[in-house]
């Protein structure tokens, strides 16, 4: 049982505390540190201690790409809503995935929901059910570019 997760969590929470509090005197810093350590200890169950940490650097690189996708599809949906004919073609898409780890699937599901035009409805470790609003969004979904990106984020660590 390695306490690495515990230490990482404490550091992360302490950083958040400094951002929130903004006061750097001894009283607030010490309360923040002990509070962060206590909260990390309460919320870490023994079976979570050995989980691999998230590939944070790659995740940070993924976010701008996701943001650009969001902007593109937002403009698309804006066009559809403002169109007087309302050219929508909603459908449910079955989306099998083999990402493996739960965290990756959750990231995929949340990214899909965050992109306007597609919403994750059901989620399990091997399949997602997605509601797509129009043809363009479902084509975007079929191209699986998002899944590839997420697979890059999570798997390249194992190969090297």
């Amino acid at each position: 049982m390695s306490p690495r997760t515990l230490i990482l969590k404490t550091i992360g929470l302490f950083g958040l505390w400094i951002l929130l509090s903004g006061k750097l005197d001894a009283f607030h810093l010490s309360i923040g540190f002990f509070g962060a350590a206590l909260i990390a200890w309460i919320n870490t169950e023994p079976q979570h201690l050995d989980e691999p940490p998230l590939p944070l650097a790659r995740l940070v690189l993924y976010l701008p790409w996701l943001f650009w996708e969001v902007v593109k599809s937002s403009l698309n949906i804006t066009k559809i809503i403002l169109d007087p004919k309302l050219p929508i073609n909603p459908r449910l898409v079955q989306y099998p995935t083999n990402l493996g780890s739960n965290t990756a699937v959750v990231l995929l599901g949340n990214s899909i929901t965050l992109t306007p035009g597609t919403v994750t409805i059901e989620v399990s470790s091997s399949k997602l059910v997605i509601h797509a609003l129009d043809d363009e969004s479902s084509n975007e979904l079929e191209s699986r570019s998002m899944e590839q990106k997420i697979a890059e984020v999570f798997h390249s660590r194992g190969q090297t």
Binding site: W17, S21, I39, N43, N102, S125
Partner: protein
């Protein structure tokens, strides 16, 4: 019985956000005097951070120990409040006059600061315990009707 929510997304959300909510509640409690907040709001946030895992993982989720002991925690909170409030009264001041607190080697303003902090902690404990036990008793009521 409160069943777990069976969506992986909700599970991950609860695991990531429970500590963050607790940290935010601590921040609201400690910074009560120079930002909006204080005991009541911090208590509500603490209660929320207990209820969120229960929604996601069911009653076996983390901190389920609190189920029966929540009321005791609330009583401790009230005792803290009343104790700090009554101490100045016994020593010849008014109720909740923190300046009269018998803490050696401290300025009056520092005494006020620590007195307020103690009171707020008591309020936080009581509010959180009450909200959590309300949530648990709602569950028990639903169970009886289901039978």
């Amino acid at each position: 019985m409160i069943r777990p929510h069976d969506s992986v997304i909700v599970h991950t959300l609860a695991r990531v956000f429970t500590p963050i909510i607790q940290l935010f509640a601590l921040y609201v409690l400690i910074h009560g005097h120079d930002s909006p907040g204080g005991g009541f709001q911090a208590g509500t946030l603490f209660a929320a951070s207990v209820i969120l895992p229960v929604i996601a993982f069911g009653i076996q989720g983390s901190l389920a120990v609190l189920e029966r002991r929540a009321i005791i925690l609330g009583a401790v909170g009230i005792l803290l409040y009343a104790g700090i409030g009554l101490l100045p009264l016994i020593l010849g001041g008014e109720f909740l006059n923190y300046g009269e607190l018998p803490i050696p080697g401290m300025e009056t303003s520092a005494r006020r600061h620590w007195g307020i902090l103690g009171i707020e902690t008591g309020v936080t404990l009581t509010v959180a315990a009450t909200a959590v036990s309300i949530y648990y008793s709602l569950r028990e009521r639903g169970e009886e009707e289901g039978k």
